[in-house]
């Protein structure tokens, strides 16, 4: 074997040297500036017209705790309804049947096209349109008795959420390779079974980050149900300040609770993402 040719001069050996740490003066400076501004804001609030004792007293008041429970119950139920409707509508939208397709597109158009607060008010005031509701000959009731704030909020929030979720789900299903549908068909699966067993589990991996986003939005959107007397967090906080006039204090109480809930939801989303990342080497970390 011939010896390797001699290497050219003028290119020193760098293998023993390390990369130096840069001082990053500007980062330190800007961080200090931000801390100063935050401290100034905190000082302003501490010395402002806020009675902090009210904040700490009402933070764990029974009415507020009931409010947060109602908020969470509504957010979870409405989101569940939204995801269910979203999947059904997305599947209809991707169906070859033109009737199903049109119905799905119409649903999305209608419920995405009008403000959520308007939809809540419509559901709550349904009794003005239909004084009695029911199935002719079998069962009927006065609409005012059936359409409680709870049911109106659930229908309003859930059906509206379904319109948005259907688009998220559709995007997820479209992201699954067409070869997966074909492989499922090739082992004899029908369209719905292929969707349930093969396509949706893979779509879930893609849709969980946007769905997490939607759920956080839902937690806050439940506050709109305060206008139809559903006793969620903001509604209960308002009721307290109508009585004691501590408006800002109680809004801060509500705000702190919303922040806490949303902070807990983020790691939960991570866990879900990991669950659906089965089989992918690029795990959600």
């Amino acid at each position: 074997m011939k010896p390797a040719p001699a290497l050219a001069e003028g290119f020193p050996d760098l293998s023993g040297m390390q990369i130096a740490r840069e001082p990053h003066w500007f980062r330190w400076l800007s961080a200090a500036l931000i801390v100063l501004v935050l401290a100034a804001i905190a000082r302003a609030f501490a010395n402002g017209q806020i009675e902090w004792s009210y904040v700490s007293r009402f933070l764990t008041a029974k009415v507020i705790l009931e409010g947060i429970v109602n908020t969470m119950v509504m957010a979870v139920l409405a989101m569940a309804l939204g995801i269910f409707l979203g999947i059904v509508v997305a599947v209809m939208r991707l169906s070859p049947n033109p009737v199903l397709k049109t119905v799905a597109a119409g649903y999305t158009w209608l419920f995405r096209g009008t403000p959520l607060i308007l939809q809540l008010l419509l559901w709550f005031n349904l009794a003005l349109v239909f004084p009695t509701i029911g199935i002719p000959g079998l069962w009927s009731a006065r609409a005012v008795d059936v359409m409680t704030p709870f049911l109106a909020a659930l229908l309003g929030l859930g059906i509206n959420q379904g319109a948005y979720t259907s688009e998220v789900m559709r995007a997820g299903m479209l992201s699954v390779d067409i070869g997966q549908y074909e492989a499922a068909q090739a082992i004899g699966m029908g369209r719905l079974r292929a969707l349930r067993r093969i396509v949706l589990p893979q779509a879930m991996r893609v849709v969980i980050p946007p769905l997490g986003n939607e759920f956080i939005g839902m937690v806050k959107a439940t506050s709109l149900a305060s206008v139809i007397q559903y006793p969620e967090l903001l509604h209960n906080a308002e009721n307290i300040y109508y009585a004691n006039s501590r408006v800002i204090e109680l809004l801060i109480v509500a705000g702190l609770w919303y922040l806490l809930v949303v902070s807990i939801l983020t790691p939960l989303q991570m866990l879900l993402e990991r669950r659906f990342a089965r089989g992918t080497l690029r795990l959600a970390r």
Binding site: G179, E182, A184, Q185, A186, G188, G279, T280, L281
Partner: protein, 254 residues
């Protein structure tokens, strides 16, 4: 007299303006290994997809095991079969795809058991035992619990073959099974296919592996522009082609 397992009569298929198949007729006999060769766009993959009903024929008919595929004749007209009936007909064929199409969220074993469990509704311990036997047959006993992403291309394709075999098909369709593989992985997949051919399985293989065709195929069919140009024994079609177009194709690929 034996009947052909697959009888294709005057089948045409268009994709918009493009004529993928124009009046193709062909018989495939039980136990026969047929290799379909030809340039891309010649219609050979489309023909396989029509047999597996991933594409519906526009004209003509395909009979599998004596049963007309995809449509039913009634009162001088053809009526499309329901999705359920098409699914039942598909169970007679197994399909192996160019890009494997394993289910990425399921392990090798789960990929194989999915069809027998979910579609055929068979008992799980029996299905599992058969799946492990199939994995042994394709040389992947050690990879039962591996996810597709943890397998090489050649290993994935062997799992895909096992997945198709798990449905106990009468006919195996291979759509360029080695075209997406690194050269050093082609051999292991072809070895599994050779073993399958030896076991008496009826196979239709779309391939560019002329060596495999020469060695294993009972018949080689050369297609061009949606039609069969030449067919016959592998040694004849590949060794002494009669048609000019076949000669041109072979000299271009070798």
């Amino acid at each position: 007299m034996t009947k052909p397992l697959v009888a294709i009569r005057s089948v045409a298929k268009n994709f918009g303006e493009f004529q993928a198949l124009r009046s193709v007729s062909l018989d495939v006999w039980p136990g026969e290994v047929m290799c379909l060769i030809g340039a891309s766009g010649s219609g050979k993959t489309t023909l396989l997809r029509c047999i597996n009903q991933l594409a519906a024929v526009d004209a003509g008919g395909i009979w599998l095991d004596g049963e007309l595929l995809g449509v039913r004749e009634q009162g001088g007209r053809l009526h499309r079969l329901s999705e359920r009936e098409i699914g039942r007909q598909r169970l007679k064929t197994g399909m192996v795809f160019q890009r494997f199409n394993l289910f990425p969220h399921k392990t090798a074993l789960e990929n194989i058991t999915e069809g027998p469990l979910q579609v055929q509704g068979r008992k799980s311990d029996e299905v599992r035992a058969e799946a492990l036997e199939l994995l042994r047959r394709v040389g992947l006993s050690a990879k039962a619990n591996a996810y597709p992403a943890e397998l090489s291309g050649g290993q994935q394709q062997r799992v895909a073959i096992a997945r198709a075999l798990a449905m106990k098909p009468m006919l195996m369709l291979f759509d360029e099974p080695t075209s997406a593989l690194d050269p050093e992985l082609v051999g292991e997949v072809l070895a599994v296919m050779k073993e399958l051919a030896k076991s008496g399985m009826t196979m239709m293989v779309v391939t560019h592996e002329l060596g495999f065709a020469r060695e294993v195929a009972d018949r080689v069919v050369y297609m061009d522009q949606g039609a069969i140009v030449e067919q016959g024994r592998a040694s004849d079609v590949l060794g002494a082609p009669r048609e000019e177009r076949t000669k041109a194709f072979l000299s271009a690929v070798i």
